[in-house]
Amino acid sequence: MDKQLMTFTVNGETVQVAASPTKTLLEVLREELDLTGTKHGCELGHCGACTVLVGGVPILSCLALAIEMQGEAITTIEGMAEGNTLHPLQQAFAECGAAQCGYCTPGFLMSGKWLLDHNLTPSEDEIKAALAGNLCRCTGYTKIIEAVELAATRMRASADATAAG
């Protein structure tokens, strides 16, 4: 099918891409924009590896047509750190050993970021609910849950410090 010009905001930058309207957001991110941090584990919406944020909300980029995402603000794993300063959740994943092979990690971080954007005191059940669409084959999820809890604790402390200051 003929290519069409599409415009998005990805990680704060406005980008234009000429791509077939049949292309998924996942394909456009990885193949046209070289944002290969977003992974694919099934391309059927089963595994969550391709999770990105659209308007701050996690979606499965393998099930979204890129052309329907025009004008949206998209955040990928490449946009999670500020420069070289890691988001507290990224830092916690590194420290807790929550990333083993690392392939599911970007998807988990996107889902986890959404959770922490809305809830800095998540219960274990709330963490599980937020991450239930992401599969991990390495960790048994234990260290992933620990990492979200650690990041929430640190972000709370930081928010308290800001409020007090």
Partner: protein
């Protein structure tokens, strides 16, 4: 001191930012894309392949078939029975038939439909029973008898005497269903070549050295002209231990066309590549004295190997080899048989071949303990082998923390206090296991080291570590950095690890058989210690002190008793380079000569064995028989935990994977078609399913392991499945003797039990004190 600290993995930062580059993330100029045509039939003769329509399709650059690569290969040198693409015959649904190389993936995919293949269907054999029954239908012409790929018969001691001595002899039959790895990353590779004909292959693999050998062989090229590089690998679990059709096709295309190409498999194709856990039928006969002492064990295994050999030669031996390393067994007989069938080939999956018989043995011991009125935990301690013993089949065991592992899970789970006071529908079960810390032999036998490491130090104090190992997420790069940083007294992040590149790195056999920490760790330590000696000598000259008075830490070499006297690591490096020339050193590791003098003695030997114990707590719904695994307590003897967080991660990941195999996962087929080739239908556990996992380290300080370390990556999986099976029995009172344990099987087992008890003349069930107590305590509150 870095050993024993839970530092973040050196590659974590790349992995949490999306910067880690996996095979499918590689993009090269002029890169083409390949797709593979696979057999739609489980067994068929190929009458004709016509690729002309596909070749004519716009954008198609090449089509590769079996005729282009007519060289047999196989990961085990003596059982090479596979072609990259089918020659004459296809043997499973998914067997590669042809590859299309095109300007993009869509074009390649579309052109697959234009390849005309005429098949003559052949009868397909789809189970152990069918493969045994139909000797006339041969899946491989080369087999001596029917579809028997390998038969093993080993006997140690007088079995007749052993069973005569026994007061109780049990014979039970179990079936362990096949399962697959389902690593999150699908297999992928990129190959490139230039006018010199040399090829570079980036491939998602656990074993770059073996890929190097096999791909060079099939492409009939010198190994010196092929470079295999391992990018970041998105999980393996045993599924990426051998070359696949795409590796060969990519290299051939690159060489023919002088341009790069990428192959990325779909999730369904990853299921079809498989090489996962063998379905195994197990017949286990065990004799014990009245006090429970084992007098003899006879194990028979029948492995459903699928269409090709893969690692199956080793697998069949492994089903027999490791049963003896946990308990005192004075006489042992093993008969194993691996059969071909028309399904994707089975191979190694975490716990390679030892998982299935361990499940059977631990379930049977539970029954024996019950019959003899023994506590399952105390009974296992009673039977446990001692450290520094040799098993009846000639395996040398050194450090062994089995008893302590049992104690840890018993204490932490409240086994003694809680087990008899759980309400109906709740149960606790226990099991133990052991696993090799690296195979004692390479897959091709030779006298060379199993692992080599080069360490080089630059004038600025930077340290590079080169090793042919493959970090598949377990943290082997971090292990190498930790060992070298420990010896040289620098920071973990001062070390750059370059791993898995056959041009640059010395051979390491790969990330399989839980060998890397032990073998590459020892090699790295040897190399680093050579450099350390030079650096201390150089610093000693600068500080006017004897080297043995110095210590290296925090990027300094200082006088131990007067730490204010120091030189920086970089200063010492410059002085040492002035004396010795360019600073680099090599280290290597070769396992000691081990094992008996019989055919098959090469499988099961290992420089060390890890030990694990598990207690599982489950709840079974009394109406639906739905199983919920509430909690797993797992204690693992890993020798010494070099990085406790990473070891815990391996224990938790193993427990998770064992849990999935216990109650959900099965790689099964209907008329040759995979029943569940997707991550939705193949029920791998989600975050909601996965139980609480309590991982505990038992440290035994193995005397040959680096700093005392043994393995942690595979062993902890093995006791999980029988522990859950025993817990389900404890909860509901019926035994399911196959995996996965599912509600329908529980219903059948209960019905069968009722039928047996109701039969005229049936013996009255002996009231078991444990279960009686359980019933009495129905009203007791849960803890």
């Amino acid at each position: 001191m870095l050993i024993g600290k839970s530092l973040p993995k050196i590659d974590s930062y790349a992995k949490v930012t999306g910067a880690a580059r996996y095979a499918d993330d590689i993009k090269l100029p002029r890169m083409a894309f390949g797709r593979i045509l696979r057999s739609p039939h489980p067994h068929a003769r190929i009458i004709r392949i016509d690729t002309s329509r596909a070749r004519a399709y716009p954008g198609v650059l090449d089509v590769i078939t079996g005729a282009d690569l007519p060289v047999k290969y196989g990961i085990m040198p003596t059982t090479q029975d596979e072609y990259p693409f089918a020659v004459d015959r296809v043997r499973y649904v998914g067997d590669p038939v042809a590859a299309v190389c095109a300007v993009d993936e869509e074009t390649a995919e579309a052109a697959l439909e234009l390849i005309d293949v005429e098949y003559e269907r052949l009868p397909a054999l789809l189970s152990i029973e069918e493969s045994l029954a139909h000797e006339d239908i041969k899946i491989h012409d080369e087999t001596r008898r029917g579809n028997v790929m390998k038969e093993v018969h080993l006997s140690f001691g007088d079995m007749e005497e052993g069973f005569d001595e026994a007061d109780l002899v049990r014979e039970d039959t179990y079936f362990f269903e096949g399962t697959t790895h389902a690593a999150m990353e699908q297999h992928a590779c990129v190959a490139d070549s230039g006018a010199d004909g040399k090829i570079t292959l980036w491939t998602s693999t656990q074993t770059p050295h073996y890929i190097h050998r096999e791909v060079a062989k099939v492409l009939r090229m010198p190994q010196s002209h092929l470079r295999v590089i391992v990018p970041a690998v998105g999980g393996g679990f045993g599924g990426k231990c051998e070359p696949f059709a795409y590796d060969f096709a990519a290299c051939l295309f690159a060489r023919r066309h002088g341009r790069p190409i990428k192959f990325t498999l779909s999730r369904e194709e990853a299921f079809l590549c498989h090489r996962g856990r063998h379905p195994v039928k197990i017949i286990l006969k065990t004799g014990v004295k009245q006090d429970g002492t084992i007098t003899a064990v006879h194990l028979q295994t029948f492995l459903d190997g699928g269409a090709y050999a893969s690692y199956g030669l080793a697998t069949v031996y492994y089903t027999g080899a490791l049963l003896t390393v946990t308990y005192k067994i004075p006489r042992y007989k093993f008969d194993g048989m691996r059969l071909y069938s028309n399904k994707p080939a089975c191979g190694p999956k975490r716990g390679h071949g030892s998982t299935q018989p361990r499940y059977a043995f631990e379930c049977q011991l539970d029954r024996i303990a019950e019959q003899l009125g023994l506590d399952p935990a105390a009974y296992r301690k009673q039977l446990a082998i001692d450290p520094d013993t040799t098993t009846v089949n000639g395996l040398r065991v050194t450090s062994c923390g089995l008893v302590e592992c049992v104690d840890r899970v018993v204490d932490s789970s409240g086994w003694q206090q809680r087990r008899h006071h759980l309400p109906v529908g709740r149960g606790m079960g226990m099991a133990i296991s052991s696993y090799v810390t690296g195979a004692g032999k390479a897959i091709y036998w030779n006298d060379m080291p199993h692992s080599g490491v080069i360490v080089k130090v630059d004038r600025g104090g930077g340290v590079a570590v080169l090793c042919g190992s493959s970090d598949i997420g377990q943290g082997s790069d971090t292990m190498l950095a930790t060992v070298v940083a420990e010896e040289l007294g620098v920071d973990l992040l001062d070390i750059r690890v370059h791993a898995g590149d056959t041009d640059l790195t010395p051979v390491d056999l790969g990330s399989y058989s839980s060998r890397v920490t032990f073998m590459a760790g020892n090699a790295a330590r040897e190399a680093a210690r050579k450099l350390r000696a030079w650096l201390l000598e150089a610093a000693g000259e600068l500080l006017d002190a004897a080297p043995d008075q110095l210590e290296a830490s925090a990027r300094r070499i200082s006088v131990r008793d007067a730490p204010e006297h120091f030189v920086s690591f970089a200063e010492a490096a410059q002085k040492a380079e002035a004396t010795h020339g360019t600073l680099s050193a090599v280290g290597s590791y070769t396992p000691p000569k081990l094992g008996g003098q019989f055919k098959g003695a090469g499988v099961g030997i290992s420089p060390a064995y890890s030990y694990t114990a598990c207690v599982a707590e489950v709840e079974v719904d009394p109406e639906t028989y739905d199983i919920k695994v509430e909690k797993l307590w797992v204690a693992h003897d890993c020798g010494r935990a070099l990085n406790p967080t990473l070891v815990a991660g391996q224990i938790e990941g193993s427990a998770y994977m064992g849990f999935g195999e216990a109650i959900f996962e099965e790689q099964v087929f209907r008329k040759g078609l995979h029943k569940a080739p997707s991550l939705l239908e193949y029920k791998l556990p989600t975050i909601y399913d996965t139980p609480d996992i309590i991982a505990m380290h038992v440290e035994t300080m193995d005397r040959e392991g680096p700093y005392g370390a043994k393995e942690a990556g595979e062993g902890p999986l093995n006791p999980i499945i029988p522990a859950i099976a025993n817990a389900v029995y404890d909860a509901i009172g019926a035994r399911v003797e196959s995996t996965p344990i599912t509600p329908d099987k529980i219903a059948r087992a209960l019905k069968e039990q009722q039928r047996r008890l109701a039969a005229p003349g049936a013996p009255k069930p002996q009231p078991d004190p444990a279960r009686a107590a359980n019933r009495v305590s129905q009203e007791a509150p849960t803890l």
